[in-house]
Amino acid sequence: MITIDISKKLLSFELSIKLEIPNGSFIALSGASGSGKSTLLRMLAGLESAHGEIVVDGKVWLDRDTHVAPQHREIGFVFQDYALFPNMTVEENLLFVKYDHTLAKHLLEITKLETLKGQYPDRLSGGQKQRVSLCRAMMRRPKLLLMDEPLSALDPDMREKLQREILALHKEFKTTTILVSHDPSEIYRLSSRVVQLELGNIVADGSPKEILLGSKSSQKFSFEGEVLEIVQIDIMYVAIISIGQQLVEVVISSREASHLKVGDKIQVGTKAFAPSIRVIS
């Protein structure tokens, strides 16, 4: 069990967080940028000072007169920009954390990196680098794994692959994990609990279903997108809208066309009575 009750005065607001995290859970931390997610992660890692209390399995990491250094907190941290050591090969990056060949080999197998173990980081793709970073974070068999938007710099395909590997690692090691993410599908796929921050405070805390789907959008398809073009075909108007990675054409009335302009951020919705679903992979 991890008990967190910390606060810190930031530039424009005060971060104040109270959380209890059972061992082995996978928590997604979401919220607009600047809401204090990264700061919270850094405070848990001991990289930033804080007031209050952090207790992990009965061990005090932070209280009035204790501040355990990052070196002694038994955590794993995955940074968005990988933060690999460029002077070491993939394998050396892992062994630097702990000289345990068996564990390193096992982790590289799970993430399918064995063939690259002798390479230096500058030869790897973004996805490969982030896998190495993930393996490196697991080398200490951490009590707490912290991931700060680890996949946001990767393309969607690579993101999905890595999500599967993160899940596989979580299943095997049962490490208590906190993941900062903006991507609803990623949060849904990986986490068992979502904590939402706003201006340094927790505004929602619940299962991904409760938080992400909510009640108002049930039975409805609703997507956010951007208007790219409005074309007139005879008496009809068609809006070309980008939703996520896809482009769709939507027929709109002339009245709607007069209200919309290119670049508008919009919501496309429909009642989902009988949508068709087809397996593509």
Partner: protein
């Protein structure tokens, strides 16, 4: 011409390079911890220390030389201590020259190394701390290996700058052949005694060596930036 070259005394060059080697070696070990401390510091006093350590760049060598001369003389506490305890004379000796050169050249060693450390992504060092490694191990195994170009620049520039010094050396060391008469001082004396032939040759050699040294630095840096485009310059 060739006859005059073979009859020349090259000991001032040997002395210049000996002085530069010793100074560079001492400053390297002295500057790495200072540069590391400065690069990691968020203290309000940091600009104060940086200004002090950069002073030798702007001060006239005569000012620096004057202070060092006073501080090291046999009438000073320090000078008297060394003279009485170890029988070492700090002024007008090679030891004194080394001390003076260290003061004179320290910014040229510290600044590139500090710049190298500051260009490292902070996350990389934090990743090492989180891996359980102390600041010292992080410095040794993560920070230093990733600023090799900056280290090389610092070493070569410090070496070259020490070879090229004149004012401080003349004031603290004088011109004792084989002891403190380095190349730059030797050239100065040749010009004063109107021995222009020798001055031409000595100066030519200095230009040639200095150019080669700088060329090596820039060639290496170009190669490194093509290779990694990375940290440390």
């Amino acid at each position: 011409m060739w006859q005059s070259i073979s009859s020349l005394d090259f000991s001032p060059f040997v002395l210049s390079f000996k002085l530069a080697s010793v100074t560079t070696l001492i400053l390297l070990f002295l500057s790495i911890p200072i540069a590391w401390k400065l690069s990691q510091s968020r203290s309000r006093l940091k600009p104060f220390w940086e200004a002090i350590l950069a002073l030798p760049i702007v001060l006239p060598p005569s000012v620096l030389g004057f202070y060092i001369l006073i501080a090291l003389s046999q009438y000073s506490t320090l000078g008297a201590f060394f003279s009485e305890s170890f029988d070492i004379k700090l002024t007008f000796s090679f030891t004194g020259l080394v001390i003076a050169s260290c003061f004179y050249s320290i910014p040229f060693m510290i600044q590139p190394i500090q710049g190298g450390f500051e260009s490292l992504p902070p996350n990389m060092l934090e990743a090492s701390y989180i891996a359980g490694k102390s600041k010292f191990i992080t410095l040794l195994r993560v920070a230093l290996p990733n600023i090799k170009p900056a280290l090389l620049t610092a070493i070569i520039i410090t070496f070259a700058h020490t070879v090229g010094e004149f004012g401080v050396v003349l004031m603290v060391g004088g011109s004792i052949p084989g002891e403190t008469k380095v190349a730059s001082v030797a050239i100065y004396e040749m010009v004063e005694t109107m021995n222009y032939d020798a001055a031409y040759i000595y100066s030519g050699i200095m230009v040639f060596i200095s150019f080669i040294v700088l060329l090596i630095v820039y060639l290496f840096n170009q190669k490194q930036s093509r290779k990694i485009g990375g940290f440390g310059r």
